[in-house]
């Protein structure tokens, strides 16, 4: 078979493959709208939990968090389907990203609903920031500097909240997830071609 392909042709083929693979290692396109929605959800849930814990709102108000969660999931599924139809290529990297996104959201959900005796009050809110930072750093690992900066902002909010009182801490966490996720989402939307 080697006689069918000489060294020059083999080099030409290898170079073509290398070029295609290099071009396919495109930066992870995260979908800004998802981050805006989940940033709004994260900040809303954090503040809602804080107001309920401080008795500014009745405990029944927590149902609003569930409604917001369902709305965010419904939006994500619907928008994801539309994007899949509109796009002409489904990247494996993109699929991996959505796996990470769904796992972190799922774990945040479990921590908030099923492990609430361990993650009480502000710890429950901090879980969302923790999960959000993982998602942002995952995107950042694939060359997205905006995601790296946003991830750092979320981590900083966690650290700052740790050294502030409960009231202020909740606002810091909400601001962190809002700035990190919504800020990153808006930046991604603005950078679209």
């Amino acid at each position: 078979m080697d006689e069918q392909l000489n060294a020059a042709q083999a080099r030409d083929h290898i170079e073509m493959v290398a070029r295609i693979l290099e071009e396919s290692q495109q930066r992870l396109c995260a979908g800004g709208e998802f981050f805006v929605v989940w940033g709004l959800f994260g900040a809303f849930v954090t503040l809602l939990g804080h107001f309920v814990a401080s008795r500014a709102l009745p405990s029944q108000a927590l149902w609003a968090g569930l409604v917001a969660l369902i709305a965010a999931i419904a939006f994500s599924i619907r928008r994801g389907r539309i994007l899949r139809v509109e796009s002409e290529r489904g990247s494996l990297l993109q699929r991996e990203f959505f796996n990470v996104l769904w796992i972190t959201i799922g774990m945040g959900f479990v921590a908030n609903l099923a492990v609430f005796n361990i993650f009480r009050g502000i710890a429950s809110a901090a879980i969302w920031n923790f999960a959000d930072a993982i998602v942002l750093f995952y995107i950042g690992m694939h060359g997205n500097r905006r995601a790296q900066v946003a991830g750092i902002a979320v981590v900083v909010s966690l650290v700052v909240a740790n050294f502030t009182s409960g009231d202020v801490g909740a606002y810091v966490l909400a601001a962190g997830v809002f700035a990190g996720y919504c800020g990153f989402g808006v930046a991604e939307l603005l950078s679209r071609d």
């Binding site: 083999a10 073509m16 493959v17 396919s24 002409e88 290529r89």
Partner: protein
């Protein structure tokens, strides 16, 4: 070496599919800069050999043909590229 992948365009198709879950015909046409007829013929050979899978659907009343790499195709690509590299080493 793999007979099917000795063709530069077929090797290009498999390389394009390597890092993608799926790729539409129109995107392969754009990426590989081949005529539609020529591309279609090469895709047909790869489908027949089981290296790639073809899915046809209608989206918004427009036909959409997608291709994805099979594990057989992935294995053949890796082995073929290794042999290309060996050939280059032997001759250098």
């Amino acid at each position: 070496m793999d007979d099917l992948l000795l063709s530069k365009i077929r090797l290009g198709i498999v390389a394009e599919l390597l890092t993608s879950e799926w790729v539409a015909f129109s995107e392969l046409h754009r990426a590989l800069d081949a005529s539609q007829g020529n591309l279609g013929a090469h895709l047909g050979k790869l489908v027949d050999s089981g290296y790639i899978e073809e899915t046809k659907a209608f989206v918004n009343r427009r036909p959409l043909t997608q291709y994805r790499l099979t594990s057989k195709g992935r294995g053949a690509f890796v082995a073929h590229v290794r042999q290309l590299q060996s050939l280059l080493k032997e001759t250098s």
